[in-house]
């Protein structure tokens, strides 16, 4: 990869001491520990879900976020009342970061009625509109125009906020994303496109899929500001994303943020070949030096925010919570068959007086 260049109108911190950046300095001790709690929570949840998948308890696909946790945790920690978030199918981390419970997320993956979508969406389709979280979308880049739409609505309604549209490095080559970049810039929408660049679109490396490997540079073609940062240090993620989000809220301008991160696991668990398209050493090197869990834990211990023992305790709590969520999911019932045809049409679901005309469903 070429050295990332920066092109940002706002002040950028040259220093690598992101902990000292005002947005991070302002964090209370408890808020810092919460960041660790979120990051380790995502990790333990996903490890547990992987076990459930391997046991055959979870069907379909399982796209793990392991290795990327600091990105969702960092950015979500900056969200304000009128900020909204949408992502693709690697959506567990964002879901837990916005405050969805492990129970509802695990149960959704088990396909159970107690899941966040009653077992109708599965792993790739978590939603929590009450937490400004709009999914969880299965088609690569398909969520990006929706993200611009959330920003459009904020602007239309005169609300001060921003939309965060997450995508992977594979999504940058989809037409819908490029169309959306143009629209967002043309209409000055307060949306931040966050490319979580983990280096691989499924099994194809960045080098083999993108002519311009500096993905953020694509913003130049749409007269949009961009920046590149690393995703393993939650402080760095927060410092950089905060500037983009502030700018979006205050100046009604879009931003393209490329975050260099890494996933330890395959594209999905079905991707058993992931050690063939990259080396074991590459994975181990990242784990050893840049693991987002270790990075924040060590920083907080060094800062004296928490002790090793406290870190271990939180870790254990999250392991227990993940274990309990698997038990909860396992013991939960599936939705009754009658639920197959609910949540299809809002007007049907809310037709309490039976005034709707005509046939909506064609079963025989």
């Amino acid at each position: 990869m070429a050295t990332p260049k920066k092109k940002s109108a706002s002040k950028s911190t040259k220093s690598t001491d992101f902990a000292a950046a005002p947005i991070n300095k302002a964090l209370t001790k408890e808020e810092k520990i919460d960041l660790y709690r979120t990051i380790i929570g995502i990790r333990r949840f996903e490890e547990r879900s992987l076990r459930a998948y391997n046991q055959g308890k979870i069907g379909g696909f399982l796209h793990l976020y392991i290795g990327q946790e600091a990105v969702a945790a960092g950015i979500v920690s900056l969200m304000e009342e009128n900020d909204h978030i949408i992502t693709a199918y690697r959506d567990h981390g964002h879901a837990l970061a916005v405050g969805m419970s492990m129970n509802e997320c695990m149960a959704e993956m088990y396909g159970k009625h107690t899941g966040c979508s009653k077992g109708k969406g599965g792993s790739m389709h978590f939603f929590a509109p009450d937490k400004n979280y709009w999914g969880g979308h299965g088609i690569v880049a398909g969520q990006t125009p929706l993200g611009a739409g959330l920003a459009f609505a904020l602007k239309y309604k005169g609300l001060k906020g921003c939309a965060l549209a997450f995508l992977g490095d594979g999504a940058v080559n989809q037409g819908s994303f490029m169309e959306t970049l143009n629209l967002a810039s043309l209409w000055n929408l307060p949306v931040i496109f966050v490319i979580e660049n983990n280096g691989y679109s499924m099994g194809t490396s960045l080098k083999r899929s993108s002519a311009e490997e500096n993905l953020a540079h694509r913003a130049d073609g749409f007269d949009m500001e961009w920046e590149v940062c690393n995703g393993h240090d939650v402080y760095e993620v927060r410092e950089v994303a905060n500037r983009a989000m502030k700018r979006a809220r205050e100046e009604m301008k879009p931003f393209l943020l490329e975050i260099r991160t890494y996933r330890y696991r395959g594209h999905s668990v079905a991707d058993a070949n992931h050690e063939k398209y990259r080396t074991k050493e590459e994975i181990e090197e990242y784990k050893r030096t840049k693991d987002p869990v270790n990075v924040i834990r060590q920083k907080l211990i060094d800062e004296g925010v928490m002790t090793e023992a406290e870190a271990k305790k939180i870790d254990q709590e999250k392991k227990d919570e993940a274990e309990a969520s698997a038990k909860f999911a396992d013991e939960s019932p599936y939705a009754p068959r009658s639920e197959i045809q609910t949540d299809v049409y809002s007007e049907v679901d809310n037709d309490t007086e039976g005034k709707l005309k005509g046939t909506y469903f064609f079963n025989d």
Partner: protein, 325 residues
């Protein structure tokens, strides 16, 4: 009642809904400053301004998806496809996201958008601009689709579609834009899921939708005058939801059914309606259900051939006589 064009009726619906609800806005290619490729939105930008009537770049996928995202937060966008054929560029947005986000969120997300534009052939423009995808839309639970055949229905259905909390496709027809019908001055709505009996009759039922319903009405008059056959014409108006009751009551009365649509026949809307009739009115049928659809090939460019490819009065009469034989 005023005699106005189908185009004017749609414009009135849009204009009135923009005034009624501050969340309603119109988006699409050339809808604002150019006044609409087919002039359906003529004057609306001058009247309501940039916020409510919005020109988009030629990016159907992006503005369709943007409308979906915006609708999640309460905006009610009406997006124009210059041709409904262009919705194919936005299939992932319209047929995955608009149709399924509510379901996949367990009912937590609503998508109150309207997708409107002409969906017809017969205009001598070749296969890429002549799609009639109401069958494709109807095949996606979560979506609704209506096909107004006249100005009165166009206005009433458009208003109902805009007020609906689900995504609704309104399939218009460029060949009808300039045709005139009587439309009341006062406010009215045509509910989704209610068919219209355009003409009562005794000997056979023609079930149709969109412009074909008007052709069928014409053919019914000829059949009565020249062949002494009394034909009842049912205009579906709404494809999903579907007014099964009106179809079945009519077929039970006449004992014969001819289904007329501009869709290609294989998996067309009428394939489903034919199934419903045989299942639910089997004992009432005096003849097999017959169909007149577009001739099963990509839309041909050559005008005289295209005029034969899509249903016309001659082909409908031919189909009706077969059904009566």
């Amino acid at each position: 009642m005023a005699l106005i064009t189908y185009r004017e009726a749609i414009k009135q619906a849009l204009d009135e809904e923009i005034q009624r609800d501050e969340n309603v806005c119109i988006m699409g290619e050339e809808v604002a400053q150019y006044n609409g490729a087919y002039k359906v939105t003529e004057g609306l930008w001058a009247k309501h301004g940039d916020k409510r009537v919005i020109d988009t770049p030629i990016s159907e996928a992006a503005f369709s998806g943007l409308a979906i995202g915006a609708s999640a937060l309460g905006v009610r966008p009406v997006i124009e496809m210059m041709f409904m054929s262009f919705s194919y560029v936005a299939i992932d947005q319209l047929f995955n996201n608009a149709s399924f986000c509510r379901y996949m969120s367990g009912g937590l997300m609503n998508i109150p958008i309207v997708v409107r534009g002409p969906a017809n052939g017969g205009t001598n423009v070749g296969a890429t601009h002549s799609h009639t995808p109401e069958n494709m839309v109807a095949n996606h639970p979560g979506l609704k689709v209506v096909c107004p055949s006249n100005a009165y229905d166009a206005k009433g259905l458009m208003k109902a579609a805009i007020r609906d909390d689900d995504p609704v496709f309104v399939m218009e027809n460029t060949l009808l834009y300039g045709e005139k019908w009587e439309v009341p001055e006062e406010e009215y709505i045509v509910e989704l899921g209610v068919a219209n009996i355009l003409k009562e009759g005794e000997d056979m039922t023609i079930v149709s939708h969109g412009r074909c319903a008007m052709l069928s009405l014409q053919a019914a008059k000829t059949l009565e005058e020249k062949h002494g056959i009394s034909v009842e014409v049912v205009d579906l108006r709404s494809i999903r939801p579907l007014d099964e009751e009106t179809i079945l009551n009519s077929v039970k009365k006449t004992g014969r059914a001819l289904l007329v649509e501009e869709n290609k026949p294989y998996c067309g809307v009428d394939a489903q309606i034919s199934h419903i009739i045989q299942l639910k009115a089997f004992d009432y049928l005096d003849a097999p259900v017959h169909r007149v659809s577009s001739i099963d090939a990509p839309q041909i460019y050559a005008k005289p051939l295209e005029d034969w490819q899509i249903p016309n009065e001659e082909r409908i009469i031919e189909g009706a006589l077969k059904c009566m034989a």
